[in-house]
Symmetry: C2
Subunit: 296 residues, 2 copies
């Protein structure tokens, strides 16, 4: 990781945490327990990969970064809601997230259900409540974009396919279909929402979308490799969970070596889609490197 990229990441994440904290309801406001649990579920750190992708995409098209911070908050709230619901006993039944008890363990199941519901609602509220583009119709497009990426034909649909796949043997294309929805859609949305805070050309959007598709899938392949190879302490979540749950992964289907090769190829494809954009796309390239080379 270059010194410049590390500095850029630190600066933006420090600022983002302040923005995020300020956009969440205060724990003093009624209903306090719900608001406390919402803050607990969002302000626990995490890699903030989606926000960083949004900032880098905004930077590439010359958008106002303050607007990208709001758009990135909306995406991160959708991501956080999906984790809270995904960890619940009727889904993955996980007790540990980012090294801390999951929301339903720390609070209770009913609260976790309402936390997820309310974080999703807040995401859409933010996209409507702040000026994110000079053109209101483009801002409506941003609402639509996030909705399609997170709904039954995006992230939530991917989770449904994931549930249905437990104990089944999937083909590689079927696994890819699942992940393009479950994690890929929201990663692509993060990039496109960041860019839509500016005035991107159709060509820029198309290239960014392809970049997002590649890094979104690479992110999942690397996750599968890490789940198989790393330990719980490094990951901050329960390792080996996928194999224990009899879930198909790139590692179980392809083996570790071929999964690593696949990540490498997706990494190359991602970088190629940005080849025409020079220095303005450097932080997107750095993020692609980070996603593929990370150890946790």
């Amino acid at each position: 990781m270059s010194v410049d990229f590390q500095g850029w990441t630190n600066t933006h994440l420090a600022r983002f945490e302040v923005v995020l904290e300020g956009l969440l309801p205060s724990a003093d406001a009624a209903p306090q327990r719900l608001h406390e649990a919402m803050r607990y579920s969002v302000l626990q750190g995490g890699k903030r990969v989606r926000p960083l992708l949004a900032f880098a995409a905004a930077e590439m098209v010359g958008a106002q970064l303050s607007r990208a911070h709001i758009a990135a908050t909306a995406v991160e709230l959708v991501h956080a809601y999906s984790l809270v619901h995904d960890d619940m006993p009727c889904m993955d039944d996980d007790v540990l997230r980012r090294g801390k008890p999951t929301c339903h363990v720390q609070f209770d199941e009913a609260t976790a259900l309402l936390v997820g519901d309310s974080l999703q609602t807040l995401a859409f509220q933010l996209l409507a409540d702040h000026q994110l583009n000079d053109v209101a119709s483009r801002q409506l497009e941003m609402v639509k974009l996030l909705a399609i990426a997170s709904g039954s034909r995006g992230m939530a649909g991917g989770q449904a396919i994931d549930l249905a796949s437990v104990g089944k043997s999937l083909s590689v294309p079927e696994l890819e279909f699942m992940h393009i929805h479950k994690t890929g859609a929201l990663i692509r949305a993060a990039i496109l929402l960041g860019a839509n805070c500016g005035n991107p050309s159709d060509e820029q959007l198309a290239k960014l979308d392809h970049f997002g598709k590649c890094v979104g899938l690479a992110f999942q392949v690397v996750d599968d490799v890490l789940d198989a190879e790393a330990d719980t302490a490094t990951l901050g979540k329960t390792a080996g969970k996928d194999a224990d749950n009899d879930k198909p992964t790139y590692v179980t289907l392809l083996g570790v070596q071929a999964a690593k090769e696949m990540a490498k190829q997706l990494h190359q494809d991602a970088l190629e889609s940005l080849s025409g954009f020079g220095d303005s796309a450097q932080h997107l390239r750095d993020l692609a490197d980070f996603i593929v080379l990370r150890k946790y």
Copy 2:
């Protein structure tokens, strides 16, 4: 109920069911089970009070009714999502809704969780994906309005307060605070979204908002009376549930007679707020009558 009102209701609801059906994902589209469960949870009938209020409000301000049908669908999807999640074992743990098995009973808990999540997302998608007003910035206001009404300081917040109140003795103002959030906020939003499909004046919006506040609260008071007095077959959901769950209601706090008096007073207040609008507000008045005088 007047002949005119009955005809108006029948016409609009017949059309609404077609619109609603067409806006839900097809059960043939992947993930099929999720889409089937979404359709099951929305297309089971119900009184459709919120859509009817949206149509009547749109009518009062001379808005295009076809736009109000889309806005009403968004509100009804949020209502349906809240019922699916509210019926889950970690919340009210109810097995019967509109005379049929609840979503998690008919399908499974994980599917019910994703159904609720996806219905909420679809609501916001619809508000962004269809032209509901000539002015895009007003349409963004509609997104914001629905989000605030349904989030942690609206409907979901009301449910959190409801959960926290089980087994406690609330005062009447505390009970009112809960219901203004839990059911009132979305009923008000239905009315305001219908009106915002047109170009309402600030005075019209203020009067409609007051009307919505009164009928929203009246709706809940009448619900409590019906829960105490009617039987399961008439209601289509488990009767006497509130008392069994040791939940405070207007009936347990005030007694049946005083609760009925309160509904009557709210009904009067609602009608008074529309006194300046003549025939254009007639269907809103009819709906206020229906909400207070209904038997199920």
